[in-house]
Amino acid sequence: MSQLAQQLASGRFVVTAEIAPPKGTNLVSALAGARKLQGVTAVNVTDNQGANMRLSSLALAAQLQQSGTETILQLTCRDRNRMALQSDLLGAAAFGIENLLLLSGDHSKFGDHPDARPVFDLDSVQMLDMANGLMAGFDMAGKRLDGVPRFFPGAAVNPAAEPFELMFQKVTKKVASGARFFQTQSVFERGSLERFMAAMAPLRAPVIAGVLLIRSAKMARFLNANIPGVKVPQPLIERLECAGDPMAEGLAIARETVGWARELCQGVHLMTLGHEDHIPEILA
């Protein structure tokens, strides 16, 4: 059982962070970045995040896992059909990777290969079903596996999405398809998080709230314009704009969000985008 699974089961507040594989084969800074993350429960390894082509998330996660860092392997439906997804999951299991974050994935249009053919052979619900099938010893064709993987599959959610009921019906499906935990899109408003957590209560799936370190008003505007599902509210942008030290203000905002998560959720997922050294301050 992964540490993440254990800690969530025991009701301990978990902290996750994330690392993006490099563009190229130089793993030095990714591995150094991971070492700075000591103290977090597990590290998400992103999969061609934002549809930008990088080294495979499985390769970096395998390296990290073998050097003693627990990972959460992110896998999207955008770049692989059902056969490739199954092979990669079996490969992940062979490297001792248990935690999964199974995603649809941002559309190829957003990244550096906009001419690529988006795959989306499965959606995230179907991928969860598939992962649970593998755990039960069968592939999607119903063929028996020689050696059965053990996973702790998770899913993503945007708790502030509207229409709420429409978003939530998919959350319900994901739980029914074996999502054992959720990591959320960046949270910016307490109100929407409260509403989401109230709806989650009967489903009993732990929620790890996404906290994004926004370093300036300019960055907030960039995120709003370019990152699907991220919507920094105007009042927060104004706070950053008026602040004498926007970075300190960004850290304060992140700290407040962690505070809400401590009250309402089962953990936080910190997205510090290269500023991992600030994590202790955000958690303080």
Binding site: C77, R78, R82, L103, S104, D106, H107, K109, P118, F120, D121, L122, D123, S124, V125, Q126, D129, M130, M140, A156, V157, N158, A161, E162, P163, E165, L166, M167, Q169, K170, K173, A176, S177, Q185, P228, G229, K231
Partner: protein
């Protein structure tokens, strides 16, 4: 209908560089309706070819260029003009172009790029609503196709990129899943939301598609 558009003229120029005498073919069905390969466009092409010092030996607008036998018949009626030409230039969809190329030994130059099976929203404005997936889910989705109108073709509800009910890929268009949800609600039906939709059977869409009516259908 099949939506198509004229290829960039520079590309056509290149494709025709070694041909002096050309026979032109249009299509009276889709290509006419979307103003890419009807009488008018064939005439315009002829005018442009004149500026390129090409000779046009003749032209025909075939009823439905995708009908292989009809295309053959129409070409036979213009046998001499076709014989005279170095190549045929076809203003029809890729299907129509291949009806022609399967009927003549001569070189065939396609003049159009074919884009999608489109609905006409209003004159000159076309939208793709069906991508011919071979396993239609519309009866469960209140008549709105997620396979096509969701850019990711998701089958179990919206992705995390839906923002205020609009699509992550194009903020100008409404998320297909929001539209499905609202219309099902208005009809007081659960529809597709009642079940987890299993992965799609893409073998229904294996290329190249072949279909044969038996005993006049089922």
């Amino acid at each position: 209908m099949i939506i198509s558009e004229l290829k960039p003229l520079e590309e056509l120029q290149q494709a025709l560089s070694s041909c002096d005498k050309l026979f032109l073919v249009g299509c009276a069905a889709c290509a006419t309706a979307c103003k890419a390969g009807g009488e008018e466009e064939v005439f315009k092409l002829q005018e442009w070819l004149a500026t390129q010092d090409k000779e046009v030996t003749g032209s025909v607008v075939i009823d439905e260029a995708c009908h292989i036998m009809r295309a053959a018949r129409d070409l036979r009626h213009h046998r001499n003009a076709v014989q005279d030409a170095d190549a045929l230039v076809v203003l029809a969809c890729g299907s129509g172009i291949q009806s022609i190329s399967s009927n003549v030994e001569k070189r065939v130059v396609g003049g159009l790029n074919s884009m999608f099976l489109g609905n006409v929203r209003r004159f000159g404005y076309y939208e793709e609503m069906c991508s011919l997936c071979g396993e239609c889910i519309l009866n469960e989705t209140a008549g709105i196709c997620p396979v096509t109108t969701c850019p990711k073709g998701l089958l179990n509800g919206p992705c995390g990129g839906m923002t205020d009910g609009c699509c992550e890929v194009d903020a100008e268009i409404e998320c297909a899943w929001r539209l499905i949800y609202e219309r099902l609600q208005a009809q007081r039906r659960q529809g597709v939301f009642a079940r987890r939709v299993p992965p799609k059977n893409w073998s229904r869409r294996r290329q190249p598609g072949r279909y044969r009516l038996t005993n006049g259908g089922r």
